[in-house]
Symmetry: C2
Subunit: 110 residues, 2 copies
DNA sequence: CAGAATCCCACGGGATACTG
DNA sequence: CAGTATCCCGTGGGATTCTG
């Protein structure tokens, strides 16, 4: 009997486990999704686009996504302040995943 | 300025939100993933394949996935008991998503 | 406008033991 | 073998307030 493919968060052999580790949490995929769809967004635009998210979760999620190299933060030193977020090249590579997920979600709705 | 695409868990207009609602939780995608890769698995095989999962989470996740119509449970009335799990047609429709996710995860590892 | 700082709690999930 | 039944806890995340 052939060996089974396993899922393990511990060792880094499972690509799905590695992927999930980066996009875990309630709000990361939603954030990436709206950035995908809308392109560059300001902080407050993000907050309106991701319905229900709080300042704390938005800020912390953005920070983690930035550290993972998926999104880019550009700060303009103006008054009032302006900060724009967008996907990096690496972040855009998630597009196929989200597209498939959206397709699948559409099926669910109908 | 054109309207922005939003993510909202509340109303069912966002396909990504609808999708995430079904596969939320720490273990559902892992379970679906190993069923994808290995085909039909028995309870204990699942438990070994999804490293770290507890009986409780395995049981409850399987139940929810079954209720969502993504997996199929077949029970054989033997001694000792045997129960086999596999993806339904609907569950297999998640394959493209997982494939893309796995591809993306591979990139992360390298 | 774009956050940071606190406080706080529900609950998702873990550990262990038990059973048809 | 394939689960249940309890007990329990950490922390992900919410609500609110404050600030450069």
């Amino acid at each position: 009997m052939k060996d089974k493919i396993i899922f393990s968060i511990e060792n880094d052999l499972c690509p799905v486990a590695s992927a999930l580790k980066v996009i875990e949490g309630k709000w990361k995929l939603p954030i990436i999704w709206v950035l995908c769809q809308n392109g560059t967004l300001r902080y407050n635009e993000l907050k309106k686009s991701v319905v229900g998210i709080t300042n704390m979760m938005l800020t912390s999620s953005l920070k983690e996504l930035e550290e993972s190299g998926l999104i880019k933060r550009v700060q303009f030193n103006e008054i009032p302040p302006r900060v724009e977020y967008s996907l990096t090249k690496a972040g855009e590579k998630l597009l196929p995943v989200l597209d498939e997920l959206a397709k699948w979600g559409e099926e669910l709705i109908k």
